[in-house]
């Protein structure tokens, strides 16, 4: 769009449509650079803030990952040893594995559930479900610290989960879930599902509302039911939205911090440790800055890898 704009500008600038002469071309070139200077001026502060407070520290973190440093004394070169530790140290390895497992809770469960809900509420007839959508979206907006406190109560010994289990006669499995080596991690993960479900649903409803109704009617006249409509109309049309939802939720899964910090602190033991929390602990309570940086670099690379894979998967099939 902006190329078109620039082209029309130059026509306007040269005025009457005379043949393109040498001075005309030079003038056009200088005008192009004048426009560029305006753009750079507009970008100076925004890009400056971004460079100083995002890109620069990120690069510095990469540099720090090749050193051993306690944050105060002198740095000593560490080669790749910090990176070796990420994969050889059991605690660090567990955290990285958990980052991938969190994608089950932050991406797979919410996307599948949201697709199911979308299949139910979209199709040939289109009620708006505005209220439901607004409520389901709410957890996305709340402070994660508050969400973590709420779910601490839910999972507590006298919390709602145990209360509900007793109601249906399953009182003997009731337990303080966040204190369990087996259940603490899935419990935290499901809070991730709770947070991202509404976002996925909003993506899919927005996409589904753009599908022409005729496509559903065509399947219906062929005698196809809701399932066929979903399989052959809704799902293929939502491919782009699914890739975006997966990308956004994968990023939030792998960089999860707040809810884990408040709900379990990574415990019991390292049962619910995640890279984000471990990076914080290594850098700011254990003062092993180099090791924290190496884990941060590995995490960044894993996120970029996952995003790239998702993009390729989305492109290949469409």
């Amino acid at each position: 769009m902006s190329t078109v704009l620039a082209g029309q500008e130059t026509v306007a600038a040269t005025g009457s449509a005379t043949a393109v002469t040498q001075p005309g071309r030079r003038r056009r070139l200088s005008r192009k650079w004048r426009r560029a200077l305006v753009a750079y001026a507009f970008l100076l502060l925004p890009v400056g803030f971004y460079a100083v407070f995002m890109i620069l520290p990120w690069i510095q973190t990469i540099v720090l990952s090749f050193y051993n440093w306690d944050g105060i004394g002198t740095k000593t070169g560490a080669g790749f040893s910090n990176f070796v530790h990420v994969f050889s140290d059991p605690q660090l390895r567990v955290a990285v594995v958990h980052a991938f497992e969190l994608m089950l809770y932050f991406c797979v469960i919410p996307i599948v559930s949201a697709l199911f809900l979308t299949a139910l509420i979209t199709g040939p007839r289109r009620p708006h479900w505005t209220f439901t959508r607004a409520v389901l979206f709410l957890p996305q907006v709340l402070p994660a610290v508050a969400v973590a406190v709420i779910w601490q109560w839910m999972y507590g010994e006298n919390g709602f989960i145990n209360q509900a289990l007793r109601w249906v006669g399953l009182g003997r499995v009731a337990q303080p879930w966040l204190a369990s080596f087996t259940w603490a991690f899935p419990a935290v993960g499901l809070v991730g599902s709770w947070i991202t479900l509404g976002l996925c649903l909003a993506f899919f409803i927005a996409g589904a509302q753009r599908i022409p109704i005729e496509l559903y009617e065509a399947i219906a006249t062929d005698g196809g039911g809701r399932l066929r409509q979903f399989r052959w109309v809704t799902l293929p049309h939502l491919r782009g939205e699914i890739v975006i939802a997966a990308t956004v939720t994968a990023i939030s899964a792998m960089s999860a911090f707040d809810i884990v910090f408040v709900m379990t602190g990574g415990g019991p033991g390292v049962a619910s440790i995640v890279p984000g929390l471990l990076i914080y602990q290594l850098a700011f309570t254990a003062f092993n800055v180099g090791q924290a940086s190496a884990l941060a670099v590995v995490l960044s690379l894993l996120v970029l890898l996952v995003i790239t894979v998702l993009r390729l998967a989305g492109r290949e099939r469409s």
């Binding site: 750079y40 890009v47 975006i244 995490l299």
Partner: protein
């Protein structure tokens, strides 16, 4: 018959989904009204609701100070962040210049990098210039951190405004600043308010950065105060619940008024690009 069953089934599933969101919120609300010292965090209406818990939580956790800090940080981030995002969006959305693709791609990387990978060096940088433990140590990094989304959002908005509008102004000899402020911005109310509301929420909710930068209790923001409050008063659950609701209240109110903008910004915004 099947359609009726279908209709009922749909309602039932949607009701279940609604309850899964609403019940946790009801739990925190009813727990906040339990008598102080109660250990009940299930779902039941307390016999004698203790509304006074909110007052005690406010004073015990020092919410006057926490709220003030949160408001100061929001005032520091939102206006500057939105103005700078608008500038970036104008450049990316309406001007063609060398390096545009590269600079824009570089900005978009910021949407993917885990913030944990940035705060380590960021902390030592700000410490070396004596900025840690100040509001600026939260405000400045957040303006930078939100820039990728802001620039992306405003670029999409400006790229969709009619070219003729800008051309007409240029023929009249209007400068870029005039075009932006007099021609484009009056038509950008919705885009700007959505961005401002999102920036406000993200700033209000920010936890990791504040946890690392701020040690002085007088400068803690509401979520950090809540997290530390939870750590200290583990036995007084009603008080903690009341505190949690106090921290939630501002974003909840904003969400009630701007619900459409939130969903448009986060869901539709990403799809457009």
């Amino acid at each position: 018959m099947t359609t009726r069953l279908e209709w009922l089934g749909t309602r039932a599933v949607m009701l279940f989904a609604l309850l899964s969101i609403v019940i946790p919120l009801l739990v925190i609300a009813t727990t906040a009204l339990e008598p102080p010292g109660s250990l009940n965090t299930g779902l039941s209406w307390p016999a004698h609701p203790h509304w006074g818990n909110f007052v005690s939580a406010w004073s015990v956790a020092g919410f006057s100070t926490l709220m003030r800090s949160s408001v100061i940080v929001c005032i520091g981030v939102v206006p500057v962040g939105v103005v700078l995002a608008t500038c970036a969006g104008y450049a990316f959305g309406t001007i063609d210049f060398p390096g545009k693709r590269v600079i824009f791609a570089g900005l978009m990387i910021g949407l993917a990098v885990p913030y944990e990978a940035i705060v380590i060096a960021l902390y030592y940088n700000l410490k070396s210039v004596g900025l840690t433990n100040t509001y600026l140590s939260v405000i400045l990094p957040l303006i930078g951190a939100f820039m990728p989304f802001g620039a992306f959002w405003m670029r999409n908005h400006f790229a969709h405004t009619p070219v003729a509008l800008i051309e007409a102004a240029q023929m009249d000899g209007a400068s870029d600043l005039t075009i932006l402020t007099k021609v484009l911005l009056p038509n950008s109310r919705a885009a700007l308010s959505t961005l401002a509301v999102l920036y406000f929420t993200w700033t209000w909710n920010q936890f990791l950065l504040v946890l690392i930068m701020i040690q002085d209790p007088a400068r803690e923001t509401a979520p950090l105060g809540l997290a530390l409050f939870v750590g200290q008063y583990t036995t007084n659950l009603p008080l903690l619940s009341a505190g949690t609701l106090i921290v939630i209240a501002p974003v909840m109110i904003v969400y009630m008024f701007f619900q459409r903008q939130f969903i448009a910004g986060l869901a539709h915004g990403a799809i457009k690009g």
